[in-house]
């Protein structure tokens, strides 16, 4: 017989046997056959299975699922155990007329499972396009993450701690070991001071310029968020300078507790225990917390050096003003390129040299 004929004959025989089965079966329900990636096949009530949009689509578009041989292949992310859970969800929710309270109660009890299974369930629900289930599982996962420290999160989800200390800091870290950046920081401070002076002179004018019209100086001041705060910042800075040696972690925490992205490295942190203490505390980037940076630098340098550095800064300022736009571009793109490498002294490694 021709293979196609065999196929057709098989299908007819299947349908005939199903018809017989339908007569024999007491219930009026129809069933759908589902096959998971491991090859095992399950029989599920049709009304429950088609609650999943993906299965529903398969049934309608391809007509599959009506028998064991024509079982619908489920996506790889759905294993038999998880499929069971998904179907439990569908079995409850496909019944119309359930009150909101009933649904809420069911959902709350339903998502109580270990984290690993919750992740698998989220994945399966997403591949079956069952959005309500994705919503409640993702919310549950968010609740698990919320409020935990990074170590706790890593432990809960078995995440490898494979970022180096520097990587944890980038691209938001306080880069104080590169003299170029240090000079830049001082320059910013200086510029702000100048601007403040200038502001005082023309304080009558209320300027309502468009962003495009603003000079480079103004752009700088925007970036630094400094517009008359320098005085206040100064006093704060001196206060912090005194406290700095005593209780660095506390100061850092106070400063920018809102921007929790990583740790601050001032070359003083060696042990991981210190690291973890500061894990959740402030991170300073190289522009907005310039005030603090400057305070740092001033502490370390003696007056003679300071003079020299001042001169360097003036020089730097002149150079900067001449090619400001390109320079800014360079700095920003540097940050992006060097995601995985710390900025080392004097060595700019291009992308292909890494």
């Amino acid at each position: 017989m021709h293979p196609n004929e065999v196929k057709i004959l098989n299908k007819c025989l299947c349908q005939m046997s199903e018809a017989v089965m339908a007569v024999v079966k007491p219930e009026m329900k129809s069933y759908i056959w589902l096959q998971t990636a491991d090859g095992s096949v399950q029989q599920v009530e049709e009304e429950v299975a088609v609650f999943c949009p993906m299965i529903c689509r398969e049934v309608i578009q391809t007509g599959m699922g009506s028998s064991k041989n024509y079982a619908i292949s489920l996506p790889q992310r759905v294993n038999p155990a998880i499929l069971g859970l998904v179907l439990d969800y569908c079995r409850f929710h496909h019944v119309p007329g359930r009150s909101n309270k009933e649904c809420k109660n069911f959902d709350e009890k339903f998502i109580r499972m270990d984290t690993k299974r919750l992740c698998e369930l989220t994945s399966a629900a997403d591949s079956l396009q069952l959005k309500p289930l994705v919503d409640i599982t993702s919310r549950a996962l968010a609740r698990i993450i919320e409020g935990k420290t990074p170590e706790e999160i890593r432990e809960t989800f078995h995440l490898p701690d494979d970022l180096t200390e520097e990587e944890k800091l980038e691209p938001l870290r306080n880069i104080t070991d590169d003299p170029r950046i240090r000079l830049l920081n001082r320059l910013y401070a200086r510029k702000r001071k100048e601007l403040k002076e200038r502001e005082k002179l023309k304080n009558v004018e209320t300027v309502e310029e468009q962003l495009d019209d603003r000079s480079v100086d103004d752009l700088l001041s925007f970036i630094n968020g400094g517009d008359g705060d320098t005085k206040v910042a100064r006093t704060n800075r001196s206060k912090k300078k005194n406290r700095r040696r005593k209780d660095q972690s506390k100061v850092l925490h106070d400063l920018s507790s809102a921007c929790h992205v990583g740790e601050v490295s001032n070359g003083l942190l060696a042990s991981s225990s210190t690291c973890s203490k500061l894990q959740d505390s402030a991170v300073t980037s190289f522009s907005p917390n310039v005030e603090f940076d400057d305070g740092d630098i001033d502490d370390d340098i003696d007056p003679a050096m300071k003079e020299e550095l001042d001169r360097e800064v003036e020089d730097f300022a002149r150079r900067l003003n001449s090619d400001w736009p390109e320079r800014m571009q360079e700095i920003l793109s540097l940050g992006q390129e060097r995601r995985l490498m710390p900025i080392c002294m004097g060595k700019y490694m291009s992308v292909d040299q890494r």
């Binding site: 690993k116 994945s123 993450i145 990074p150 989800f157 962003l211 921007c259």
Partner: protein, 416 residues
């Protein structure tokens, strides 16, 4: 192997986005130090919300707070990678600072769809011209802002929902804004100034909620409008009544609202509707109206007549709410015939719930309650709550006597 146990890192991007967007921005960004895979998962979050919950910045010093906020938003925007669909900035301590202009410019390049800006302190913040370049906006919500679009502004072609509260707009700006957003479905306007004539020309409008001071309101081409709540916060002067005495505000109001389903008449708006010669009932009944809430001054005969006219024209009302506004007695106590003489009396064949709050127990109020009880054969519950304890006992005695058309009606009295 750790690899096999880590089930979360390999979830699809949109699922991770969904998980992270349920955390505060602070917590979301914190995930960047979890592992190498998690470094930039947060950076593709399409929803960015900066408010008091997201990062509690507590400091008495205004400048420190401001600097922190600016620094955080700057950082997040700069490190963010990908389209930003929703951006909300609403921090209690944030004054209208010019950094917002810069952020809006950035967002206008990111296909922003939902933009919410709430300036809680200080004067009206002037929205920058780059806001009007955000052509993908679907929802715009502004609080305490001043809008003056450039002359080249052609409208928001995709805008479906507009929520403006405590805003200043010029009259022509307002009209241009409404008429140039053809897809507008929801409009909320609260406490606005700069314009007083509301002419709403919005073919797709379904939800309309306003509260403020205005002189007149009219709808044009609003055949889909289903939910309307209007509050007129200023008392309509009696001199106005003389001017408009020929045309009825009520009639004009309902001409373009055939599909209206829910109506809330708040503050002094009923008084505005009462201006003009009233018909017994509207020419076209509001057949879809199933919820009506009226703030009414029972001492003002015109208002009561307007209310009756409206009620007679709403045969399918299911829920009625009457909130009494205690005002001084009118100079002439006009007699109102609650029952119609010439037409057959109307019945509320679907009215199930009635609430009557803030009454004092005057004869007119009692007549009104009596009328409602007699004309609602399927009434399930009527809740009555007076304004004060004075005369409440008398009120209860009267309520007890009233005949009810519905055999299943409960009349519940609540203490003030």
């Amino acid at each position: 192997m750790e690899m096999d146990l880590d089930k979360i890192s390999n979830l699809p991007g949109h699922v991770i986005d969904q998980i992270l967007s349920q955390l505060s921005i602070k917590e979301a960004v914190k995930t960047s130090i979890l592992s190498s895979k998690w470094r930039f998962k947060w950076a593709t979050l399409p929803h960015l919300v900066f408010d008091n919950q997201c990062f509690p910045v507590s400091s008495q010093d205004q400048t420190i707070v401001k600097n922190k906020l600016v620094s955080i938003v700057d950082h997040v925007l700069l490190l963010h990678n990908g389209p930003i669909y929703k951006f909300k900035l609403s921090h209690r301590d944030l004054l209208g600072i010019t950094d917002i202009d810069r952020w809006i410019l950035h967002l206008s390049r990111c296909s922003i769809k939902e933009f919410v800006l709430e300036i809680w302190k200080g004067q009206r913040y002037k929205m920058p011209s780059s806001l009007f370049l955000c052509q993908n906006l679907v929802h715009l919500e502004l609080f305490n802002c001043f809008l003056k679009p450039p002359l080249t502004f052609k409208g928001f072609g995709s805008l479906k929902s507009l929520d403006l509260q405590h805003v200043t707009l010029a009259q022509d700006v307002f009209e241009r804004l409404i008429s140039s957003c053809p897809l507008l479905e929801r409009l909320t306007l609260m406490n606005f100034d700069g314009f007083a004539h509301l002419n709403i020309n919005a073919p797709n409008l379904q939800y309309f909620d306003i509260g403020g001071v205005f002189e007149d309101i009219s709808f044009e081409n609003t055949s889909h409008l289903a939910v309307v709540a209007i509050g007129l916060y200023v008392n309509v002067g009696d001199d106005q009544k003389q001017v408009y005495s020929n045309s009825s505000n009520l009639l004009k109001f309902f001409v373009h609202l055939p599909l209206i389903r829910r109506l809330e008449v708040q503050s002094y708006f009923l008084k505005y509707l009462a201006v003009g010669t009233l018909p017994g009932r509207l020419p076209i009944p509001c057949v879809n109206l199933n919820f009506l809430s009226l703030r009414i001054n029972f001492n003002d005969a015109e208002e009561v007549l307007t209310a009756l006219c409206l009620l007679r024209s709403s045969p399918n009302l299911q829920e009625l709410e009457i909130l009494a506004r205690p005002e001084e007695l009118a100079a002439v106590a006009k007699f109102i015939n609650f029952q119609e003489d010439d037409h057959s009396s109307f019945t509320f064949n679907q009215l199930q719930l009635v609430k009557i709050f803030g009454i004092s127990g005057t004869q007119r109020e009692l007549n009104f309650i009596n009328l409602v009880l007699l004309t609602s054969p399927v009434l399930e519950r009527m809740t009555v709550k007076p304004a004060s304890i004075d005369g409440s006992w008398e009120l209860v005695k009267e309520l007890l006597r009233f005949r009810r058309a519905s055999t299943i009606a409960e009349v519940i009295y609540l203490d003030p």
